[in-house]
């Protein structure tokens, strides 16, 4: 089993506008953030036409963010990120040794005093956010996974399995504006919806869950289901991290029903898609536009 995998990833986004865009602002989450199990060796972000202003900063969640502004008229926008990144395999986490889910929820709630400062960061991910409502329906969904006293990661893992079983992966059936309630009712969606729904179910129970945006290799048969390739290649991917003491944040990929491992490369994380969307922008002019996104994840070598 390899302990380290090297990837070359290219993510290209092209907007073709019907009319001139006179002025635009964009926000990019395309530079991978540092993480304990991955290491970015090389990185380049190419933007054409060249922006009038560009700022590279770190956002409130610790992700690299690039802000650009284009003041000259343009009919195309092409943003391309290239990276070489090494991913290390993660130690196996015994799910049944994590704390009971109720205890985790209760430990994150306010008790008139505050035990540990580290919890402050975890508490950011317990609440409703723009794309993740906290509602009764989300507590009901997968309720059978949350048996009294059951370790939190076992619950999350079961919830992932339920979600994967109940939801159909349907590219194009939803977009970023599709409400989560509709995803739940229609039982289909894309990786974003799988992640958001799982986060909503966890947060509705007072647990902390964050949204991870990144890439997945799809050329390789996964460990879980050797006969089928992983879903989510060819585009950016998304999954979930659940706070599972004493092991901290553990990442699960509900779209593929697998634990996140050496096949996943994280770029950014936040409360939901809105915090980390790869490219968002506001344009003046432009008329109709055509968007094409192309992601290639190339495994370079497998080092032992």
């Amino acid at each position: 089993m390899s302990t380290r995998q090297l990837y070359r990833i290219t993510h290209e986004t092209r907007y073709a506008y019907a009319a001139n865009v006179v002025h635009s602002h964009h926000l990019l989450h395309l530079v991978p953030r540092p993480a304990p199990n991955q290491q970015c060796l090389e990185h380049a972000l190419l933007i054409s036409p060249a922006p009038t202003c560009r700022r590279d900063e770190i956002d409130a969640f610790g992700n690299p963010v690039t802000r650009i502004e284009l003041q000259s008229p343009h009919r195309d926008l092409n943003v391309r990120t290239d990276m070489q990144i090494a991913v290390h395999s993660r130690p196996n986490v015994p799910a049944d040794e994590t704390h009971p889910w109720e205890r985790v929820a209760s430990s994150l709630a306010y008790h008139g005093h505050w035990p540990a400062r580290t919890n402050l960061d975890i508490c950011r991910f317990r609440h409703e956010s723009a794309y993740v409502r906290v509602k009764r329906a989300f507590t009901d969904f997968g309720a059978e996974c949350f048996v009294r006293g059951k370790p939190v990661l076992s619950c999350a893992s079961d919830l992932m399995r339920t979600l994967h079983r109940e939801l159909r992966y349907a590219p194009g059936a939803t977009d970023v504006s599709t409400p989560l309630m509709e995803v739940l009712e229609k039982r289909h969606g894309v990786c974003q919806d799988f992640a958001h729904l799982m986060i909503a179910c966890l947060r509705s129970r007072g647990l902390a869950a964050r949204y991870v945006s990144g890439y997945i290799r799809s050329d390789l048969s996964p460990t879980a289901a050797p006969e089928a390739p992983l879903i989510g290649g060819g585009a950016s991917h998304a999954w979930v991290a659940v706070y599972s003491p004493p092991f901290g944040w553990i990442e699960l990929d509900p779209t593929n029903n697998i634990w996140v491992g050496i096949e996943h490369v994280a770029v950014a994380w936040g409360r939901d898609f809105g915090d980390v969307s790869p490219l968002r922008g506001i344009i003046l002019g432009g008329g109709r536009h055509k968007l094409s996104v192309n992601v290639t994840v190339e495994a370079l070598d497998a080092l032992n």
Binding site: H26, T52, Y110, H111, W114, R124
Partner: protein, 823 residues
């Protein structure tokens, strides 16, 4: 024991009907029924005149003044124009100097504590780490803006205007009901109220030396702009969500008070982390924004991406310290009752102080003991949301029965941190004029909203504010009443204190060099309002003249053809029914709708009469359809209303750049219409026949001028003389052209533009002999007519190009955004 207290004062005859509720605090009467000392002076003065008279006059005058000044609330939400006038009770709420001293200190202290709390939440979050405040309160609140975390606003102030709602409990103390921290509304209404009351009760106001309200916004403006480089002209704007907001009147009023532009999101643009206002004279740097837009709507780039109201990149400009926002982005996080129980801890931790003003007893259910208490005492409590995005109104625990009660308890248990419970507070009552023909006063529940302003001299509490009166006499709710009326608050002078700076000076705001800062969008809408008014006039005139010739088959058919060629009616539609054709995008109905929309966008610039004239157009047309009125009659009335509208628009407005463009819009529209009409006419083979010529004169409303001048039956030559050459005739091409040139010259001066623009095609010059030729017979005459028609078509096209250039240069500040407007 009686629960009613009657006035005991002998002289106050008209207080006869007043009954105070003994279970509540009464603002006017004490427990024995005697008028409280700080009300006495006012009532003594009212007493010198027969009371009933004062009452009636007061009500009438107040109503009239409200109508005249156009104070409204929630008007724009209803496109049908059902204005809800602002309700103001003429009798003020009196507050004694001693009592005010306490309120003033308490509000100033609160503003200071909340300011420090915000600085911590958007900075080190020490108070959360230490357990002084629960993380659930900020992190679960939709207005806690993570992208704003780590930003220290330029100037270091979060709360430039802070407001707090207070209510008086039966114990006589003022209690805090709610904080308003993101963009407190109502201060503008408070000033407007005072302006009205100054006219209703001028003598008592002066005699009692009531503390003044003026100067606070001016002081705020000075403060907002104080860090602007002296070399630059300082510019502030009021950012409004637009005319459909319920408090738009106030936004417009504040902009006027502050002497700054009223801007919508699309009027501003961010370039290189700097905010600019798009004005007729180009981009102007904006240094400060008084925002009336909610936190999460302010920047679609980083905050809610579905907001079309905000300014993309605004947060970047804030981060770069290039603009001051009042209040800072993210201040809305403190607008939640859940905080109330934690404020004392914050005050103690940060300032080692006790809060001067107590808050209504509040339990945030996120704490287990609080939840237990709430569940055990649910009957005595009001349950409300902890976060503003939970859409439900606070409910009385005791009003919940059966399954509703069970459902609430389940909700509380599953997501306790999202709920707040509060004690009922029996609000105090104040006397309110009964009105509706009944004299005397009724006791109504009242709350007050008090404002603190950040100024260069520190934080100042405005002595007065907005008192709100419940429609119902005996509300118990802690929530602010919806609807109801307002009152002016009279704070009596304090012999121990000198007036704070806000009151005594009118503020020495460094005014920018006099320049026209009307936002481009506003002017653009004025321009199109001018165009659409004339377009409606022209189409209505054309239809009316056409319907009048129905009896003459020959003229009728050519007239109908003209209507179709000029796009006034669709190809297969009868002129008679076209009047009511809702679906035709070129129809009169559609144009009236567009006119209405443009006018609603510039509502703040229009006089009450003008606005009324606009809004009645649609209603009239609609009513006439229902009444199956003869089209002729409808058109007559429509034309009359349009003429009135034109009168209002041209005579009642300040003659600034916007007004000039409205006028240019009118002239240009008419120029184009008359040129196209004449060109069409000249291209027909009946051009010189009596009937069609008379019809043309009718369309252009010129027959009454033609007849006395030419003393002849309508003929082509004189008609062309009148409609092309006559520079004195307001329907003629020469007139339009000269007027446009004059207005453009003036506009170039006002805006200090380098070059002036013009319609780049001349009005055809016609000599008398050429007119003779045009009237003649034979191929040469026909060719001359066609030649003139071609020139007129070119003129109309040039007018269209001129209009496009105008909108590119003056309105959108680009040389390319040509699809922004299409005529």
């Amino acid at each position: 024991m009686s629960r009613i207290i009657r006035p005991a004062a002998p002289g106050a005859a008209y207080l006869g009907g007043y009954a105070a509720d003994a279970r509540r605090y009464d603002e006017l009467l004490d427990g024995t029924g005697a008028i409280r000392p700080h009300w006495k002076a006012l009532f003594d003065r009212l007493d010198t005149e027969p009371g009933a008279d004062v009452t009636r006059r007061g009500i009438e005058l107040t109503r009239r003044l409200i109508t005249e000044s156009g104070v409204t609330y929630n008007v724009y939400a209803d496109p049908k124009g059902a204005d809800r006038p602002w309700a103001l009770d003429p009798l003020p709420l009196m507050i004694s100097a001693t009592e005010w001293r306490l309120i003033e200190r308490g509000v100033a202290q609160r503003a200071r504590v909340l300011e420090a709390l915000l600085a911590d939440l958007y900075g080190p979050q020490r108070l959360i780490a230490e357990g002084v405040v629960p993380p659930e309160l900020p992190f679960g609140h939709p207005n806690f803006l993570w992208p704003a975390h780590g930003i220290v606003p330029a100037g270091g102030t979060w709360l430039h205007i802070y407001a707090v709602d207070l209510a008086r409990a039966p114990d006589g103390r003022w209690w805090v009901l709610a904080d308003r921290t993101q963009s407190p509304s109502g201060a503008g209404y408070a000033l407007e109220n005072r302006e009205i009351i100054e006219q209703v009760l001028p003598d008592p106001l002066r005699d009692l030396d009531v503390r003044k309200l003026r100067g606070f916004f001016a002081a705020l403006r000075v403060h907002l702009l104080e860090s602007v480089d002296p070399g630059e002209s300082a510019l502030a704007v009021v950012l409004t969500p637009g005319p459909f907001n319920e408090t738009y009147f106030e936004h417009a009023y504040l902009a006027r008070q502050l002497g700054v532009a009223l801007a919508e999101g699309t009027d501003l643009t961010v370039r290189n982390d700097t905010v600019y206002l798009k004005t007729l004279a180009g981009l102007k740097r904006v240094h400060a924004i008084l925002r009336r837009l909610d936190d999460d709507f302010c920047d679609p780039l980083e905050l809610r991406s579905d907001s079309a109201l905000g300014v993309p990149g605004l947060l970047g400009a804030v981060r770069a310290g290039r603009v001051v926002l009042a209040n800072a982005l993210g201040t809305g996080v403190l607008e939640s009752a859940a905080w109330l129980g934690f404020h004392p801890g914050v005050a103690e931790r940060l300032f080692d102080e006790e809060l001067i003003l107590p808050s209504v007893a509040t339990w945030w259910c996120g704490e287990a003991p609080a939840l237990q208490y709430v569940l055990a005492n649910i009957n005595d409590l009001v349950i409300g949301p902890a976060y503003p995005n939970q859409h439900f109104e606070p409910v009385f625990g005791r009003a919940l029965i059966g399954s509703a009660r069970e459902a609430m308890i389940t909700r509380l248990r599953t997501r306790p941190y999202a709920y707040v419970a509060q004690e009922h507070l029996a609000l105090s009552q104040a006397p309110v004029l009964r009105g509706q023909g009944i004299s005397g006063f009724a006791a109504k529940a009242v709350t007050i909203r008090v404002y603190a302003f950040a100024t260069s001299a520190g934080r100042i509490v405005m002595p007065g504010g907005l008192a709100r009166v419940a429609t119902d006499a005996s509300v118990n709710a802690v929530t602010t009443q919806r609807g109801g009326a307002s009152k002016d608050i009279w704070v009596l002078p304090d012999p121990q204190q000198t007036a704070p700076p806000g009151e005594s000076t009118s503020g020495s705001a460094r005014t920018s060099a006099r320049q026209d800062l009307t936002p481009s969008r506003l002017v653009e809408n004025l321009y199109w309002m001018g165009r659409y008014t004339v377009r409606c006039e022209d189409k209505a005139g054309l239809l009316r003249a056409t319907l009048a010739v129905r009896v003459d088959p020959q003229v009728w058919s050519s007239a109908v053809r003209m209507c179709r060629e000029l796009d006034v009616i669709a190809a297969d539609v009868d002129p008679k029914t076209s009047l009511h054709d809702d679906g035709d995008p070129h129809g009169l109905v559609a144009d009236i709708r567009r006119l209405n929309w443009c006018a609603s966008q510039v509502r703040g610039r229009l006089s009450a009469g003008c606005w009324q004239a606009v809004s009645s157009l649609q209603q009239q047309l609609h009513a006439s359809v229902l009444a199956r009125e003869a089209p002729r009659q409808t058109l007559d009335r429509l034309l009359l209303s349009l003429a009135a509208l034109a009168g209002f628009a041209l005579d009642d407005m300040t003659q600034d750049a916007g007004w000039r463009l409205l006028r240019i819009g009118r002239r240009l529209e008419r120029l184009q219409f008359v040129a196209r009409l004449l060109a069409q006419h000249l291209s027909t083979d009946t051009a010189k026949q009596h009937g069609p010529v008379e019809w043309m004169l009718n369309v252009c409303d010129s027959l009454r001028i033609y007849r006395p001048r030419y003393v002849a039956a309508p003929r082509l030559g004189p008609m062309l003389d009148l409609l092309i050459r006559d520079a004195e005739h307001p329907r003629a091409l020469a007139f339009q052209s000269q007027a446009i040139t004059r207005d453009m010259h003036r506009l170039t001066e006002i805006l200090q533009l380098e070059t002036s623009d013009a319609v780049d095609e001349p009005i055809p010059v016609l000599t008398d002999s050429q007119l003779m030729v045009l009237e003649g017979d034979g191929p040469a005459a026909a060719a001359a007519r066609l030649h003139l028609a071609a020139r007129l078509q070119k003129l109309a096209a040039a007018a269209g190009r001129f209009s496009d250039r105008l909108s590119m240069r003056q309105f959108s500040h680009t040389s390319l955004d040509s699809h922004a407007l299409a005529s």
